[in-house]
């Protein structure tokens, strides 16, 4: 028995050396247009990858149904970045080095991952559209980097303005230990102090946290009249539930876009998420056209509501195809030049236009969760 197993294992290794490696095919007239995409398909953030893939499939069905672009079929090449910075750097380099004829790339929403890949995007001179909202992306001078989102600076300012408008006096902040949490909380605190509102407690929870009862107890101790929470979708459900369990739901709470997503509401439960405000580029419960009809067709197709990453990926791909048509070529430089000329492009989630910095979106919604639905209160532009 031992002999057979050893034989099998050594065979496995020998086979792996000769393993198939995909050679990049040369671009020809009828060759498909190749767009790269990296997202987390494995690891703790793998849920994000699944929603992105659904957004891509919907777009490909739509665009290839219409005869593709310049008469050529559009194809998306995936690479798994596991939602962490190191694997992302490897994944991006692998994507670029193994497919010489990529026209553009779509990156994911995790700002720290995008910032890790940014130097490599600059080297490869291929336009990349991500959905990260960090201030560092906004300040980036990389000519090939874009984002389908408004920067945290913008959303932070909107959040602070909304809190001021609601007449809050004592604000408590709880933020995640990453670029999103650190970046946005700094702006919100600065804007609140400008408006003379006191920040009574500011806490950064530890990475991979599951037990928020203690952080919420400290918030309760500082008896705020407004609570701000910033985090990723893996933590938001637990935070909302912890605040509800601690009996703080009489206090107004606002969160970043992750708090408006369907998974958060489902994980926290209807009563816990009732009344939460959020500043988000996309909310599944919105009545705004064309978003609402798109959401209906998405829900019919996949049986569950979309996440923000589904719609931002859809918009990113449609902008890339729009730029290819305008440039009438798949050369990355030409497409990049066209992307710089985008003005009031009607996307699903928002109206996009390039005005000097990578952030293409300039509109956002202030929503409130009522009975599990994200109801749009106001639309903020500029």
């Amino acid at each position: 028995m031992k002999k057979i197993m050893i034989l099998l294992l050594t065979l496995l290794m020998v086979f792996s050396f000769t393993g198939c490696n995909r050679n990049g095919d040369k671009p020809g007239e009828d060759e498909p247009i190749k767009i790269g995409l990296t997202d987390a398909f494995t690891g703790d953030r793998a849920g994000n990858g699944q929603y992105t893939k659904e957004g891509v499939d919907m777009f490909l069905e739509y665009i290839n149904g219409k005869g593709g672009v310049l008469g050529r079929e559009v194809v998306v090449v995936y690479e798994d970045d596991q939602g962490n910075e190191t694997a992302a750097v490897n994944a991006y380099q692998k994507l670029i080095l193994e497919n010489e004829d990529l026209t553009a790339v779509v990156l994911n929403k995790y700002s720290s991952v995008v910032l890790a890949m940014e130097p490599y995007v600059a080297d490869s001179k291929i336009p990349a559209i991500c959905s990260g909202s960090n201030v560092k992306i906004e300040q980036s001078t990389n000519p090939y980097l874009y984002s389908t989102r408004r920067s945290d600076y913008g959303s932070g300012a909107t959040m602070a303005a909304f809190i001021k408008q609601e007449g809050a006096k004592r604000v408590a902040i709880l933020y995640s230990p990453d670029a999103l949490g650190k970046g946005m909380s700094e702006i919100v605190i600065a804007k609140l102090q400008e408006a003379g509102i006191e920040v009574v407690s500011s806490q950064q929870f530890s990475e991979g946290e599951k037990q928020f009862a203690n952080y919420v107890a400290k918030i309760k101790e500082s008896n705020p009249d407004f609570i701000v929470c910033i985090g990723q979708t893996s933590e938001t459900g637990l935070i909302v539930k912890a605040i509800y369990d601690a009996g703080l739901n009489h206090i107004k709470c606002i969160g970043n876009s992750a708090f408006a997503q369907a998974t958060t509401i489902e994980q926290a439960g209807l009563e816990a998420s009732e009344g939460w405000y959020s500043i988000t580029a996309f909310a599944a419960g919105t009545e705004e056209e064309p978003t609402a009809s798109w959401i209906r067709s998405y829900t019919e197709k996949y049986g569950h509501a979309p996440e923000m990453t589904s719609v931002t990926t859809y918009d990113a791909l449609s902008m890339i195809c729009y730029a290819i048509e305008k440039a009438n070529s798949t050369d990355p430089e030409a497409v990049n030049a066209e992307l710089k000329k985008i003005l009031n492009f009607e996307g699903i989630a928002a109206v996009y236009s390039y005005n000097g910095n990578p952030m293409l979106a300039n509109s956002e919604f202030v929503i409130q969760i009522q009975n599990g639905k994200a109801i749009v209160l106001t639309k903020v532009i500029g």
Partner: protein, 287 residues
């Protein structure tokens, strides 16, 4: 606020203690720490989620089905990871194979139940108020059930005849076999009880922390509890874990981000001052 930190600390401590108990049984039976223990805890959460939500079993039926599943899992885990290696001259091979098992278990769960965290409803979805502190009823269940299980295991091992057999096999498998103890049965029994304990832990924790692959990270706190409490003593582990829970909870007073660093810092400090832990006795190695 201090009351809230105390309650959270105790309840998390009891959860870690439940995991630590399962872990210590394996250390006593096999002499090596099971590095896949966190994944068994997570597996327990997923199995109970499927039994309640997919098979829609009523509570009492689910509990029986749960125990049966855990015994099967415990047995299959033992026969794949430990049994073929029981005679290997070098303990490290068992350690690394449990490592392989932890990686494989995490991926298998991801493939069967997908990676989106699942919601599992607590037994009684209510929150009770004690002064200004608040406590989810689920924590009371954790404290009661884990306390009961620990007493059961303590009596089983210290007082009953079966316990004596299991301890004898654990201390010296060769000698136990000489006097007619079927060591397969004894060690299998230990693995089954250990899996039931961590599985029940998973079932109790799921409603509070969602059913997800990252539940396995609690194991490292349970490890810390075992060292702080003292080598291999069941009493020591329980006290150690509750202490770790309290340290973790009260560390929020000094820092919010460095919570885990405080817990592991204390662990290493305990090693320096009292390497045998609170209850551990100095082990004299026989020449």
């Amino acid at each position: 606020m201090v009351l809230q930190l105390f309650i959270t600390g105790i309840s998390m401590g009891m959860l870690y203690a439940l995991m630590a108990m399962g872990l210590i049984l394996i250390v006593k039976a096999v002499g090596v720490l099971n590095f896949a223990h966190g994944q068994l805890f997570m597996l327990g959460a997923y199995i109970t989620w499927s039994l309640t939500n997919q098979l829609k079993l009523p509570l009492w039926a689910m509990i029986i089905a749960m125990i049966v599943c855990f015994c099967i899992v415990g047995l299959s885990f033992m026969f794949t990871v430990y049994w073929p290696l029981r005679n290997s001259p070098w303990k490290v091979t068992v350690v690394i194979s449990t490592l392989g098992a932890s990686i494989a278990l995490k991926e298998a769960v991801r493939l069967i139940w997908s990676f989106i965290p699942l919601l599992s409803k607590p037994l009684i979805d209510k929150v009770i108020r004690i002064g200004d502190a608040v406590m989810n009823v689920q924590y009371i269940f954790i404290i009661i059930i884990s306390g009961a299980l620990m007493l059961f295991v303590y009596f089983l091992f210290e007082k009953t005849f079966i316990g004596k057999i299991m301890q004898a096999t654990a201390q010296n498998r060769y000698a136990a076999e000489l006097i007619g103890i079927p060591s397969v049965v004894a060690i299998a029994g230990t693995y089954m009880i250990s899996m039931c304990m961590s599985g029940v832990g998973g079932w109790l924790a799921a409603p509070l922390f969602l059913v997800s692959q990252s539940l396995g990270t609690f194991a490292q706190k349970a490890f810390a509890g075992i060292v702080v409490g003292g080598f291999g003593s069941i009493k020591g582990a329980v006290v150690g874990c509750v202490l770790v829970g309290l340290i973790e909870s009260f560390s929020i007073l000094i820092t919010d981000a460095y919570k885990d660093a405080v817990v592991f810092g204390v662990l290493i400090l305990v090693l320096i001052i009292r390497p045998t832990g609170i209850f551990g006795e100095k082990i004299e190695e026989k020449a």
